[in-house]
Amino acid sequence: MSSKVSTAVMRQGLKVIGVAIRTEPRVFTAAVLSSGLYGVMTVASSWALGRATEHVVLPAFREGRTSAGALTTAALLIIGVAVLKALGIMGRRILAGIMQYRMQAASRRAVTRQYLRLPLAWHHRHPTGQLLSNASSDAEAAWGPLAPLPMAVGVIVMLVTAAVAILVTDPVLAIVGFLIFPAIAVLNLIYQRKLSPLATRAQQLRAEVSEIAHESFDGALVVKTLGREDAETARFQAKADELRDANIAVGRVRGLFDPMLEALPTLGVLAVLLVGALRLQSGGMVAGELIEIAYLFTLLAFPIRALGWVLAELPRSVVGWNRVQDVLDASGSMEYGTARLDGHGPAEIEMSGVTYGYDPEAPVLRDVGFGVTPGRTVAVVGPTGSGKSTLTQLLARLIDPDRGAVRVDGTDLREAARGAVSEVVALVPQQTFLFDDSVRGNIALDRDTHDRSTDEQVWAALRLAQADGFVAALPEGLDTRVGERGATLSGGQRQRIALARALVREPRLLILDDATSSVDPQVEKRILYGLREGSARSTVIVVAYRMATIALADEVVYLEHGAVADHGTHEELLARCEGYRNLVTAYEREEAERAAIESDEEVVA
């Protein structure tokens, strides 16, 4: 770590602090004033003690008498200074906290706003864990230096006051102070510089240990069924041992510098005693002043380290700040136009020349084009990994095509106003996602506030999704909370609630991406019949393998390797498209083959 790099980090860190000061100038000023009060009063308390020694204690011992007035004054002075000092500490701590927490909260809000604003394609490029830590630990780290900052400012006030006080008292002793305190500051700076890369490394390893544990426990069933517990433990232990060694390295540096930092002011006081004795001999000062300065040294020894704390937090702060800023600066957000899609009745769909790739080098969809007339039900069929789910995301404008266009009622989705697409299109994805909310909240989402979607409508949607039965049986009906990600429900139940969420909106385009895979066949059949009855107002796109679902469709789009291999009615495709035929008749052909083999065997027998 060259000093050039650290200077850059230092400058950036101070810039981050500057942002906070500009955002919360009043809180910052109040915190600094409190801390300044604390700094001045710390010096004052040693002065009070020195004064008490010189004017009360030593005369009393020398002369064998004292006055009640002098005693009371000394006592009140000591307590009075302490009260002011305590107020300074309170103000400093509380205000520093308020400032830090406000900034953290602001960052968290801004980051999450950005998550909600940025397009899905951006989310695809960033792992979930990273996004979570951007909003939690990075936001925290970015504003970490704010906690010790007022203290550090207070310490500077304290040091200046102390320097003046010592200079006024005795210029020769001041030399001792001017040697010792910079030495402590410099030693602490070296300490923090040595420590911070080690601490960062330990922090990094801690995150890695946690990642392994997370992944391994999430995959516990696989680990168990394949008997890989030992291998997993070895993988984890290796990382845990690395963390141990990193922590021991931290400990070694701490162990070296902490005692030195304690010893230095102690040696300073001893030096004060020695030099002070010489000064007393030459009559340059009185005993009370010697005590005052010695006491001051003991009081300053600890707070002076606060300067180091701020410096120590800076590198972490800069890293956190940069990560947060990366999210805030991320561009490529979805652009919205002004077009509304408020036609009536089922929507008309047109995809033309659509190409899309998560990795632009390897497109998932290639030059896909087809149209759907309003009110039709279209099945999207294709082998595993042929791009069906990606197609549904394009139709709901969760992602934008790299080339080509998706149009609803002739409007390119990119020209639709913000919120216009989701008002018209409802997608039920393959992976069900439920909010940690009530059943009602999960289905109605925001509609209760503007659209006054009544319970009746919710129940109607649940009925259509074949979910009214089990929801009615839940302990609190619609008000039952489903837990994080719907953990209290079974897979089939979750899918049906997600389906009801789409149906309650009476969308003009309904997209079902294999949305009933966990539902029992009988229940699925009832859902599909219901949809057929009730979907007169919707154009429906359904990704499916099952013949029953395909049979409900008016036409079929058959995908192979990301391209439309054929488009037509089920019968047409059966007749002319081999891939399609192979796919949808796989079970029947298998049965037929088996029957043939069995009859052969019988013949042979």
């Binding site: 020694t53 204690v57 064998g64 006592a75 302490a82 309170m90 509380i94 406000r102 999450t112 998550y115 909600l116 899905l120 989310h123 695809h124 979930t128 864990g129 939690s136 801690r206 240990v209 946690s210 992944e215 391994s216 696989v222 680990v223 168990k224 069924t225 394949l226 517990e229 984890f236 845990a240 141990r244 922590n247 400990g251 070694r252 701490r254 162990g255 304690e262 040696l267 020695l274 007393l280 005590i291 009081l299 082998p383 595993t384 990994g385 789910s389 393959q430 996602f433 209290t488 969420r501 294999d514 895979s517 029992d520 066949p521 009988q522 029953a548 049979a551 796919l583 079970y587 029947e588």
Partner: protein
């Protein structure tokens, strides 16, 4: 569904309870037993700690010496002061050295112990039955081996050290004070004693504040993760504003809790300073009074003023140390709670290693119920001879999955027994069992690595060629060729970059590579297209090499191809036999089949 709920409720009660009842002292003793590294060289470390603490009273001692002996005469006794200062300086260096050695030893001992504890905890989590793994929230199991251990580590290296140093500091200061003047010592203690009673109260307040902060922080994490994990649904339903409001509420709640906690800390922290100033004033008043009667020297009185400062920092940090101690004990208790949860499905000692080859399995009067729940499987008896293909069908909640978990010994039966080649599963060595019987669950978890690494998880010794061959045998080359980087394609966290069907293909390839004698598929191809499914089913049957295949499926194509179908209803096998027979007789199977055909045939 009922089974799922029962499972959660019943097991959640188990492990946690035992641990909560353990006292702090027991926790400590038990914890030390599990990590013997903590105690290694503890005596030496303690001696060094005492020496390091002695450094704290050097200054008051030096001040007293200077005033009482050096400054006694009209002129200061410079040679005496010089010698005394040099001597004290030497002592300071020695105590600093003791401090260094103590720190290094402490870190080494505690970190070694904690690394062991992490490893043991991690391993034990994997040894716990699937029941416990599911019921304890996964995230909380993770914090057992991460955050909880970190808390212990924090306490041992900072708080624990503070306790030793603070106690030593108070003790030594008190001794020195008592030597100087017992009256002043009593006065000082009279000032500080009330604090000792008040501080634990403060600590409870502070702890409650911090607990609130932790809870609100949890809310924030949950809200933020919802906005990240649910990003597709949030966009699809245009509920960005709603989600933003939820996040805002959580963030504001967190900030309010943090501010409140900070206020409590800020208000209680300086109390010690105030008390110290009262003690100082008191010492000046009483000390002068005593001095007038000649029962104390001025040096000793001034030394008292310095000694009082030694009381401030231990008491000031006491609330925080108490907090850390409490957190550490709680963390330790939680880890021990995990370690104490019996691995109810344990690897038997001296378990039998079975030879590889065709495998036979039998269930003899097997019953099962989740702890505290109603029976979900009743008196199931069935023989699965070698080289057979068995399909298990039934409605959701009929006991199919329970049957699968018992067969793979993810759980043990409550009554009856499961035998493999005539040996009770509970007597078979885990390594042997997992080699012979492998289950592919519906949601095959993938690790954040490449396709190849994930498949190799099934058999670590496999070469790339063998992995390619396995994919070819499963008929997946076409799919593989379509991937951007083939075998080197990264699958993303939990396989997020792949579709649900592709994840299942990978999970199947992984199990296929493991090449067990019995392969159990629990709806393992539910998201795969029919043509691929049929191809895979054929490859997996592997009848030629004598493998037994058990499939749970709601696609009845599997049942049609099976040698025998087991039909489950309400936890019992109600029908069994080949498809051709079952479909003829009126009953559960015929109904299921009718509904299936109407769904799959045009």
């Amino acid at each position: 569904m009922t089974a799922v709920t029962q499972e959660r409720e019943a097991v959640a009660a188990g492990g946690a309870m035992r641990a909560a009842e353990r006292s702090a002292l027991e926790t400590l003793r038990h914890g030390l037993r599990l990590s013997p590294e903590f105690r290694r060289g503890l005596g030496g470390t303690a001696v060094l700690a005492v020496l390091a603490t002695l450094g704290k009273v050097i200054i008051p001692f030096a001040v007293q010496q200077v005033i009482d002996h050096g400054l006694r005469g009209a002129a200061p006794d410079v040679p005496f002061i010089r010698n005394m200062v040099l001597l004290c300086g030497l002592a300071v260096l020695l105590t600093a050295l003791a401090g260094y050695l103590m720190n290094v030893r402490l870190y080494r001992a505690t970190e070694s112990g904690l690394a062991t504890l992490r490893g043991k905890g991690f391993r034990h989590v994997h040894d716990l039955s699937v029941l416990t793994q599911n019921s304890e929230r996964r995230g909380s199991l993770v914090s057992r081996v991460t955050g909880d251990v970190d808390q212990i580590s924090n306490f041992m290296q900072w708080g624990g050290l503070m306790v030793i140093v603070a106690a030593g500091q108070l003790l030594i200061a008190t001794i020195v004070m008592a030597v100087f003047s017992w009256q002043l010592t009593l006065l000082v203690w009279a000032c500080f004693l009330p604090l000792i009673f008040v501080l634990p109260r403060f600590q409870r307040l502070v702890a409650a504040g911090y607990t609130a902060v932790r809870e609100r922080t949890g809310d924030v994490l949950a809200a933020v993760s919802e906005s990240v994990v649910g990003s597709a649904v949030i966009r699809a339903y245009g509920s960005e504003d709603r989600t933003a409001r939820r996040v805002d509420a959580a963030v504001d709640g967190q900030r309010a809790a943090q501010t409140r906690a900070q206020k409590i800390v800020g208000l209680t922290f300086p109390v010690t300073e105030l008390v110290a100033s009262v003690a100082l004033a008191g010492v000046v008043l009483l000390g002068v009074e005593l001095g007038l009667h000649g029962s104390i020297t001025e040096g000793r009185l001034v030394a008292f003023l310095f000694l009082i400062t030694l009381f401030i920092s231990p008491l000031q940090t006491a609330t925080e140390v108490l907090n850390e101690a409490q957190n550490a004990i709680a963390g330790w208790r939680r880890i021990l709670g995990v370690l104490d949860s019996p691995a109810d499905v344990a690897d038997p000692e001296n378990g039998v290693t079975l030879p590889r080859g065709p495998i036979s399995v039998s269930f003899e009067g097997v019953g099962f119920s989740y702890p505290g729940g109603v029976p979900v499987l009743h008196d199931v008896s069935v023989d699965i001879p070698p080289r057979t293909r068995v399909a298990v069908v039934g409605e959701t909640g009929s006991g199919k999955t329970t049957f699968a978990k018992l067969l793979t010994r993810l759980m043990d039966p409550v009554s009856g027994q499961v035998l493999v080649d005539g040996i009770d599963l509970r007597d078979v060595k885990f390594s042997s069992l997992r080699e012979r019987i492998v289950m592919v669950p519906q949601d095959g978890f993938l690790f954040d690595a490449t396709l190849e690494d994930n498949i190799r998880f099934g058999r670590p010794s496999a070469t790339t060629e063998e992995i390619r061959l396995a994919l070819t045998e499963l008929g997946l080359t076409d799919w593989l060729d379509g991937l951007p980087a083939g075998l080197d394609t990264p699958v993303g966290q939990r396989g997020e970059s792949l579709s649900a069907g592709e994840r299942q293909l990978l999970a199947l390839a992984r199990a296929y590579l493991a090449d067990p004698d019995l392969l159990l598929l629990d709806e393992a191809t539910s998201a795969v297209d029919p043509a691929t499914e049929v191809r895979i089913a054929r490859a997996l049957d592997g009848v030629t090499r004598g493998r037994t295949a058990v499939s749970i499926a709601h696609r009845l194509s599997t049942a049609e191809a099976a040698d025998e179908v087991l039909v489950f209803q309400h936890g019992r096998i109600v029908q069994r036999g080949p498809h051709a027979e079952l479909v003829e007789e009126p009953g559960v199977y015929a109904d299921l089949y009718a509904s299936w055909t109407s769904a799959t045939r045009s």
